[in-house]
Amino acid sequence: MSTGAGTTAFGASTMNPVAATAATSSKKASTMKQRIENLLATVFGAIFLLLSAVVTVETLSRKLFNISLQGADELGGYALAVGSTIAFSLALMGRNHIRVDVFHERFPKRMQAALNWLAIVSLALFGAFIAWIAFKVIGDTLQYGSTAQTPWATPLIWPQSVWYAGLVVFALVAVGYAVHATRLLLGGHLDRLNHEFQPKSAKDELKEELDDLAQRRAVETQGART
């Protein structure tokens, strides 16, 4: 979402001229982030809308005409494999990977910064680790020429290579964030680090969800009057 990064840029630019350059680059980064987010969300949504359509056709044709495509469940498994890796990335970009923040807010600023840094770095390491070990799955599949034991007899490398690409994207996004956080830490920008990487909290501004909500409410009120 753009609003968070935009406010950060604004806040930074009022502080000092050095940060103003950072603000420009941050604005660029935020556009880039939104583009990536849009792209990933489109792919994710397309996967599950398409799956829903296929499953609906399968279910209806099975009920009405006794014809089964035989493989909607297999497709569902692949949809989840690919869709979930994309979802990992989007959850990361939305800071949705859950953290317990019961004590976090009570820690001093420097400790919060250290923990926020550690949290994103550990997530990046986890993402990189999964991508690294998953490469073995791809290698094995290629070596064995694995073929799904299903009516479609899908060569396993097709869904798995897309799944793997999704894991790599997740790892890259996470490492990107971790590098950014490390630069903020080393540069001493603890406030910005804490602002961008703290667990989501009430202090955060309201996001697009609430704009959306207000919009719907306006329409509702209008609807109620007519």
Binding site: T59, I86, L90, N96, I98, V100
Partner: protein, 430 residues
């Protein structure tokens, strides 16, 4: 690995979580480090096939689908209007919309085999309305996390199917057995909302709505009733399995959105982003839970603990009471499905040997799973409901909000222990 080292590892995981490390990372880190230190490189090479196995599981596909269904109903305003209608009818009760939360959860539970999906869908639909109308976020989150657990007590239920297949108990009987406890627990939750609302002094209730207006709001119920009807009907009348019914629901919801003229790219994009964020968070935790579970099962600690509890020489009642404590503690830390699979093979034969009815024990296990879903630090429904709250407060809100319901569940389990017929009477008349 000795129980002592295992205890230390568990404390380390707890420490990581409380220090604010991501939950998924804390679980995976302890699983990976524990596994590699005990079993070396072979353990590491075994993780990847496990990860693919989890991510390729069609049963879990229903999670993003049900979340997407809820998002569509929510963002097109359909669910908002349903909420207006339900609150017009239920809102006068002390506690107001919180009753609607529980009612909607119970209704949705009858279409969903999973508590996580129930909490996610109803929560997505309900939370913005609750926030807008100024309900305490704590109470709202608690009612949704707890209401969501009804998803596995009211049939269909994934956990009952797992229990039935592990213990050779009739799944049909288990489903039937879940109905009365499901409705009773729903009533208990509503009763609590009523009482706590009256006790709090500031009785929160909605304004009285004139009858004509209330009747007019019934039209708002048409799209959600049709969507729920398609999901529920396709399940009950033999047209679809759980994941398929979720897909049918998505298509139906999408056509209602299109019909309302609100279908546009902006709306879809928002639905996709939110669905991906929520399900990405849940699924990463599930992946981490499986990595941790591999280590836990290899060490055999769950079995050791179960054997220890079983070895105390208790009566049936004493055994069940001990199990409540045992599952309460285990459920704090474990994913409930892993917990089920790891412990039932040991606890079930003992329970049966002590004369406990298998169907009754199944309902008991499901209740313990429900409890585990809302106890911190690892409580999937807590995470889910927290993940979709619109105001981004702390996790402690949902933890405290769900606490009374956890106590009610324990109380309800004791009631079931005293009156076993609540679970066994209906299936006995099949």
């Amino acid at each position: 690995m000795s129980v002592g080292i295992f205890g230390l590892a568990f404390l380390a995981m707890l420490g990581l979580m409380l220090a604010g490390m991501p939950i998924a990372v804390s679980m995976a880190l302890v699983g990976v480090i524990g596994g590699i230190s005990a079993y070396g490189v072979p353990f590491m090479d075994s993780i990847a096939p496990v990860v693919w196995g989890v991510q390729n599981e069609n049963l879990l596909t229903s999670i993003p689908l049900f979340v997407l269904l809820g998002e569509l109903l929510l963002r097109s305003g359909i669910a908002d209007r349903m909420y207006i209608a339900l609150s017009a009818w239920l809102g006068r009760m002390p506690g107001g919309l919180l009753h609607t939360n529980i009612g909607a959860c119970a209704l949705f539970a009858a279409t969903s085999g999973s508590s996580v999906a129930t909490a996610a869908t109803v929560g997505t639909v309900a939370l913005p309305s609750l926030q807008r109308r100024g309900y305490s976020m704590r109470a709202s989150l608690g009612s949704l996390a707890a209401g969501g657990t009804l998803g596995i007590l009211i049939p269909p239920s994934v956990n009952m199917i797992v229990y039935g297949s592990l213990t050779n108990t009739s799944i049909g009987k288990l489903f039937i057995a879940g109905i009365i406890p499901g409705l009773l627990l729903t009533s208990c939750f509503m009763l609590w909302i009523w009482i706590s609302s009256v006790l709090s002094g500031t009785v929160k209730r909605e304004d009285k709505v004139p009858l004509a207006e209330r009747l007019r709001t019934l039209q708002f119920l048409v799209p959600p009733v049709v969507v729920f009807g398609i999901v529920m009907g396709s399940l009950y009348f033999g047209i679809a399995t759980t994941t398929e019914s979720a897909a049918l629901g998505v298509v139906a919801a999408l056509s209602f959105v299109a019909q309302s003229g609100k279908l546009n790219w902006e709306l879809l994009r928002n639905c996709f982003v939110s669905t991906a964020r929520v399900s990405g968070m849940i699924l990463l935790i599930i992946v981490a839970a499986f990595i941790l579970n591999l280590t836990v099962s290899l060490t055999g600690v769950a079995e050791a603990m179960t054997k220890w509890v079983a070895g105390l020489g208790l009566t049936a009642t004493g055994f069940i009471l001990a199990l409540i404590v045992f599952y309460l503690i285990l459920g704090m830390f474990m994913d409930v499905l892993s917990m089920q699979v790891a412990t039932i093979p040991i606890t079930f034969p003992i329970a049966v040997a002590l004369g406990v009815d298998p169907v009754w024990f199944g309902i008991f296990i499901v209740l313990m799973c429900e409890l585990g879903l809302i106890t911190p630090p690892v409580g999937m429904n807590l995470f889910v409901v927290h993940g979709i709250r619109p105001d981004k407060g702390g996790l402690q809100d949902v933890i405290w909000g769900a606490l009374p319901y956890a106590l009610i569940m324990i109380g309800f389990t004791l009631l079931l222990l005293m009156v076993p017929g609540l679970a066994t009477w209906l299936p006995g008349h099949m």
